[in-house]
């Protein structure tokens, strides 16, 4: 499965930010209140550092962080692939 490695990394980052949330069971992190707007800021900063990218401000939209798959697709846009 494409992107398995990134998905594991993304899941670990998410769990570090919100250890109490079960990200595997949700496909709408925002609506399910697993992430809030400031968590997204923390997530972006961590993804930037982990993958040596700079996610553009215009891409910092809730829909790009609603699921692990959405985050993986966003990373792919910035050239992060396995």
């Amino acid at each position: 499965m494409k992107g398995v490695h990134e998905m594991d990394i993304i899941l670990k980052i998410l769990c570090d930010i919100r250890p109490e949330s079960d990200f595997k069971e949700s496909v709408n992190f925002i609506e399910d209140a697993l992430l809030d707007s400031f968590d997204i800021v923390s997530l972006v900063a961590t993804l930037d550092g982990t993958f040596a990218i700079s996610i553009e401000g215009v891409d910092i939209l809730p829909e790009n962080f609603n699921s692990i798959e959405a985050i993986r697709e966003l990373l792919e846009k910035y050239g992060v692939t396995t």
Binding site: I17, R18, A33, D36, S37, F38, D39, I40, V41, S42, V44, A45, S54, E56, G57, V58, I60, L61, P62
Partner: protein, 357 residues
Amino acid sequence: MNFIFSHRKISGLLAIVPANERDFVDEMINFNFPLARTLKLKEVMGYDKRRIVDGPVCVSDLACFGMDYLFNNGLLARDDFDGLIVITQSPDYFMPPTSNVIQGRLGLKQDIFCMDINQGCAGFLVGLIQGFLLLDQPSVNKVVIINADVLSRKVSVKDRNSYPLVGDAASIAILERTDAPAPIHANLKMDGTRSDVLIIPAGGFRLPCSPETAVLENDGENNLRSKDNLRMNGTAVFNFVQVEVPPMIGELMKTASSTLDEVEYFLFHQPNRFMLEKLADKMKVPRAKMLSNVVEQFGNSSGVTIPMAIASNLKERIIRDSINVCFAGFGVGLTWASMLLNCGPLAFCETIEYPNR
């Protein structure tokens, strides 16, 4: 909307900050969030120290304190200016204008043009544009621009989105004519269709303050604030800045036939470090050229963060030299504006403290 000015200059700058310093870490207990998450925010957003007024201090108090400092130190003569523009979102009263209040408290002459402008994070730019326009009149030789806010008094202490970043401050900029013809380019845009993303819902005639408007409400992210408090839709504001500001700066450079490389410092309004770093990356300018240390040391004091960035970082140089700088402000309204100018040498550039009670 584009503006071009010539034979105009900023001749002096004074920043006034309350002596009352708050520490983000000490205040974390106010917020309904796990400490680890809040500490992560400190690291990413650059929240650290901030200055807020101690007690019921008003904009005219900070302004008069600063003006008296200028008078008493021979930096400005009491009758030597013909315009007094106050830019604030936290006026002393709905009526009379705070500029008139300041004129009266300082005992200024009656032949003076006093004006209040209700603007926030773009307010310093709006004030500069208005001040430069006023200098078109032969009867106006010098204009004082006071940009000040005490918004800490309108923010809920249980609102993690706004409370840890808000700072109070004032700045006084002196504008006057100069023989130097170097052009000053500026542009300005406004969009009232998004006026609700930064708002204090109650307190005006639309929704007067009442016991009902004072009730704390959960915004869905565990921030507690009432309709009497400042409310910011952080996601919408962040997206607005990232979408609108880079093309605005691009247009400014094009109009001025300049390039980003020619700008020595980008002195943008400082809401938080993260937003500024993202702007710098998008504009492909080094982060070091886009200063972000004012919000870390003093908090977000609306448009005042721009003159404070000069006073905090460039004080020594700008009293001797001219520096090619790009200002930008963006916020309530929504309003966004930018200006490209050679700033300096200034007759003075200082920061003073407004004492605690």
